[in-house]
């Protein structure tokens, strides 16, 4: 599936190479000024752009973008594996934000003289740095600095509030087959979910796995015996079925989280997007992990 889409992208890219070989070469890079026509293919970045005040400069977003509500009116130009190169070019953007793995698209855009901004999800520091970089790139340096600092201080406040408490050993589950314990995906020891969990005063049971996601077996979950099971989901299906979803864990009664009824289910898009709403998500994690600290 992914490879097929990649092939398609490659094919489109190839067509453009051939085309641009005998066509006149596109303009060399324009002098760097604040872009007025930004295309963002990364939802997290779209949120950052709007949050630093560059919203009015955004002219198109990815097909997964839903926040802030203003993006619903903007044209959608594909996403990670299926960017609609032709439409992107037709929109005459002066800055295109691509994901780090879209190197073909990036090369092609650069060849045709478009400025690009390449981004990859990382930890919480990555998000804060990216906000600052975007501020510089879009002419909203002051707002971006203010935003990044305020996010940093909100995160610091959460950290301080729970610092002195016992850090429960936590499994942070972000995907699983509904109603069962199959295909569980949990946060590993790196990435923004792990960072948020740590700031919120949880000790990740998979801190030793240096990957963003782990797919633990039932045996591994039993063996790691987390004190808290924290499930996060983008809003959607799971909201209707909260109680049976919690029941799915009941066969694992030897897990302290199950025995002590510390299975928490949080839903909302903001929980899983490493953008300006990550402070709010971290606060939600902390409330679930340390309810006493927020009384």
């Amino acid at each position: 599936m992914a490879t097929r889409a990649q092939k398609l992208v490659a094919l489109v890219a190839l067509a453009f190479v051939v085309f641009s070989l005998d066509g006149p070469r596109a303009q060399e890079k324009a002098p760097v000024s604040a872009p007025r026509r930004i295309v963002s293919l990364v939802p997290a970045i779209t949120e950052m752009l709007f949050a630093v005040g560059a919203g009015p400069q955004v002219i198109a977003v990815s097909s997964y973008d839903e926040f802030p509500p203003e993006v619903k009116a903007l044209p959608k130009v594909g996403a990670l594996i299926d960017p609609d190169t032709e439409r992107i070019l037709a929109l005459r953007p002066d800055l295109v934000i691509v994901y780090g793995s879209q190197s073909e698209l990036e090369k092609q855009l650069e060849r045709s003289g478009h400025r690009t901004f390449s981004y990859r999800h990382g930890g919480v520091p990555t998000t804060l740095n990216t906000i600052r970089e975007l501020g510089v790139a879009t002419g909203h340096r002051a707002e971006a600095d203010t935003l990044a600092s305020s996010l940093q201080s909100r995160l610091d406040a959460v950290r301080d509030r729970v610092k002195s408490r016992r850090q429960p050993r936590t499994i942070l589950v972000f995907e699983r087959q509904p109603g069962t314990l199959r295909d569980v995906y949990a946060s590993g020891g790196v990435g923004f979910l792990n960072d948020m969990l740590t700031i919120a005063g949880g000790s990740n049971v998979f801190a030793d796995v240096s990957r963003e996601s782990v797919q633990p077996s039932v045996e591994t979950i039993l063996a790691r015996a987390p004190d808290v099971i924290l499930e996060v989901r983008a809003s959607g299906l799971i909201e209707k079925t909260t109680s049976p979803e919690r029941d799915a864990w009941s066969p694992l009664s030897s897990v302290p989280a199950v025995r002590n009824q510390r299975v928490h289910l949080l839903t909302g898009d903001y929980l899983v997007v490493p953008g300006p709403r990550l402070a709010a998500a971290t606060e939600a994690f902390a409330r679930a992990l340390h309810p006493d600290a927020f009384k």
Binding site: M1, R4, A5, Y64, L80, D82, F174, E175, Q177, P178, G179, T180, L181, R182, D183, Y185, F206, V209, V214, Q215, P216, S217, V218, E219, T220, L222, A223, A225, A234, G236, L237, I238, K240, T241, P244, E245, P251, L252, S253, S254, R259
Partner: protein, 351 residues
């Protein structure tokens, strides 16, 4: 290619379908049966964590406080049993379809049953629905429905003309349906969100970590029915694998035997795929391995494959869950990586 061709008509003993084989059957079942039982008994003792068996079986510790017992009874045992059930079902379905289609390349997934099951599973994974039918949760239930639909379509196509099922039409219809359904699966995945594509892709790789006995309880009746039907088949399979006319001339009700073979194999495949996803390679490599070891008589090949399939998949899953622990390897990857080279080695050595 391998053993099926060696049974061409000229070399066929007059009564091969019915020659007495009790002694060989008994020793084969004893041999492969021991292998299967030993594998299934050893497999739950090993895993990514080391557990204390005395603690696991100590009734004085309450079950909800006994991690060792929960690892043994909740994590490992259902998983091993699922491996045995799925391995056995896929290997037997492979034997039956290879004989019936007279094609050594046939697998339980050749006739579109698994693609139908996969499409059903994909639709539920991607468009949601958290319903449950008794012990059957949404994804397995949908994959059973998909498998049944695909089976019905293929059967309808292949049995429309004439009395007997045309094996070539069956094969072509199955292969075409497979491609068509695969395209639909890709399309459905294309419409999905990232998180769901993750889960969908993982489901396609196959997985035996079922985490409770409910899925087993749901699949077991289907597999039992399939195996009862399989038990009626071997003699006619011997003759069918030579050719329809040869079989008919020796008194086989070809149409009846084909129908029985097709539906029992489809049922076994559907049950296996709905339980564990489409785990590849078991259905082709186990039957051929068994034929290399015990010859071509289906009265021996079929039970031997059922037992060896169970042992093979349980062993592969054991490697899948321990080799890189705490990270697991999808079991379908292990079946192909172990089964492929071993099979080729046997093939070269034998010839």
């Amino acid at each position: 290619m391998i053993s099926l061709d060696s049974a061409d008509e000229s070399s066929l003993p007059r009564r091969v379908g019915r020659a007495p084989i009790r002694g060989r059957l008994l020793s084969t079942i004893l041999g492969f049966g021991t292998l299967a039982v030993v594998t299934c008994m050893l497999a739950p003792l090993v895993g990514s964590t080391s557990i204390s068996l005395t603690r696991a079986f100590d009734p004085s510790i309450p079950f909800d406080q006994n991690v060792d017992a929960q690892i043994f009874f909740v994590a490992r045992l259902p998983r091993v049993l699922a491996g045995a059930l799925v391995g056995s079902a896929l290997a037997s379905a492979g034997v039956v379809l290879q004989a019936m289609l007279r094609n050594p390349l046939a697998t339980p997934f050749t006739l579109g049953v698994s693609a139908g099951a996969s499409l059903g599973a994909m639709l539920v994974i991607i468009f949601g629905g958290a319903f449950a039918l008794g012990p059957l949760s949404a994804v397995p239930a949908a994959s059973l429905v998909g498998a049944a639909a695909a089976t019905a379509v293929v059967y309808w196509l292949a049995s429309r003309h004439g009395h007997a099922i045309s094996t070539s039409v069956l094969l072509l219809a199955g292969v075409t349906l497979n491609s068509f359904l695969s395209a639909l699966i890709m399309f459905v995945q294309y419409l999905a969100d990232f998180a769901q594509v993750y889960r969908a892709a993982r489901w396609i790789m196959g997985d035996l970590d079922i985490g409770s006995y409910d899925p087993l309880i749901a699949s077991l009746p289907l597999v039992v029915v399939a195996f009862v039907l399989f038990a009626l088949l071997p003699s006619s399979l011997n003759l069918l694998s030579v050719g329809k006319d040869a079989a008919a001339s020796r008194g086989v009700d070809v149409r009846h035997a084909q129908r029985l073979a097709f539906f029992s194999a489809s049922l076994a495949t559907a049950a296996a795929v709905s339980l564990a996803g489409p785990i590849g390679f078991v259905g082709i490599v186990v039957p051929h391995l068994v034929r290399l070891l015990v010859g071509v008589d289906h009265r021996i090949v079929l039970p031997a494959s059922a037992l060896f399939g169970a042992a093979f998949l349980v062993a592969c899953d054991l490697l899948a869950r321990t080799l890189l622990s705490p990270v697991e390897i999808p079991v379908g990857v292990v079946t192909a990586m172990i089964g492929g080279p071993f099979f080729l080695w046997l093939l070269v050595r034998k010839s």
